[in-house]
Symmetry: C2
């Protein structure tokens, strides 16, 4: 029994480690996709695209681990919720990986055209979004709702940046139709970053629900308005 | 024991019914958001936005039902996978609801401006996407991988329509900068529809994995390229 319980603890620890590792991978992919854009470095962009299968594999492994924990360990209420939350979180992480691939694809296209303007707000959005992913996962493994709440606050900043970028690029498009394709490319990148931040927000909301049984996913404070798009 | 087992069957049945009901709700929201756009009917758009809390409640209820099934019934392998898949599917359904709200918001903005052009491909995309959601959920409750595979094939049609719409609207923006805001609004609506189809595809992929243990989520056949965006 002692032995089984230690084994169970080890598996739960393994679950947390795997989720943090996957989180680290997608954070790196966010950073690399930005480097590909800012440095006009399509080689790095292709690296991001090439690392996507690793994310997919990690998702599958975590799914399997969760299901085997549910099947073999019959976890008690609190762990049960932790594991079912992990099952949902891993889907968000995988889709964050997909969004970085989308950014990398747009970066490759943009790198083939002359630069439109220096990027200021886009990398700012990216680093906030990556920070949100990091903190949401920390909040999850530490079951810390306060950390998670800070993520919700950060999402408002990301939404504001998105609206700002969108308006600026719209002006470019209207004033100079030749810039439209490039401006649209950047708009889509900003939209993908906003979606990454939304996934981090979803994770944070699930963590708060996990810790407090209070559902902020659908309360005004917990909701990220998809404003300005 | 007989009694418990009948109760368990009833709860599983209830889970399926609730998922189908939620699916029906979001299908209706897709149709209404289109009616709001095509009929320039902002009242209907506001109805879509107002129905979002019902979706959120349904998601919570299904989550609770899944967790209580896991906790109290200790389901065997096949049901365990069915329930953990349900937990993931419900998240996709809720986000489909969110996308219809986004469409309704854009429709309200577009309705305040003169029409840009008649819509042909956008409603076609919407009805395919709604059909995909319907069929993916049917495949889930019937544990029918063939039905699910058809959903993957339909997603390719949606992606093609998206690229077509995007290119056409890009031409509008370049040729007539005054049309840019409206053309962008329609582009975003097409993007939300493409995302709805992606969620349906995700559901279908999970159903195939549930039935066959074969992961098509990350194989070339099971993947929807985010092409042309």
């Amino acid at each position: 029994m002692e032995h089984t319980s230690r084994q169970y603890e080890r598996e739960l620890r393994e679950l947390k480690d795997k989720i943090l590792l996957l989180g680290g991978t997608v954070e790196l992919m966010i950073a690399s996709s930005m480097r590909a854009l800012l440095g006009r470095d399509s080689e790095t962009a292709r690296g991001v695209i090439a690392s996507d299968p690793r994310v997919d594999e990690a998702e599958l492994e975590i799914d399997h681990l969760c299901i085997s924990l549910l099947a073999l360990r019959q976890p008690a209420a609190s762990d049960l919720r932790f594991i079912t939350t992990a099952l949902k979180i891993v889907t968000d992480l995988e889709r964050i990986g997909d969004s970085t691939v989308n950014i990398a694809e747009r970066a490759i296209e943009l790198n083939e055209q002359p630069p439109l303007k220096p990027y200021i707000d886009v990398p700012r959005m990216a680093s906030t979004a990556a920070g949100m992913v990091h903190q949401a996962l920390d909040a999850f493994v530490n079951r810390n709702p306060d950390e998670a709440r800070e993520v919700l606050a950060m999402d408002e900043g990301v939404d504001r940046l998105y609206v700002q970028i969108f308006r600026e690029l719209l002006t470019y498009m209207i004033e100079d139709p030749k810039s439209t394709t490039r401006a649209l490319g950047i708009t889509f990148i900003a939209k993908y970053l906003e979606r990454i931040a939304d996934h981090a927000t979803n994770i944070a909301q699930m963590v708060i629900f996990l810790c407090e049984g209070q559902d902020v996913r659908h309360s005004p404070a917990g909701r990220s308005p998809a404003s300005g798009t």
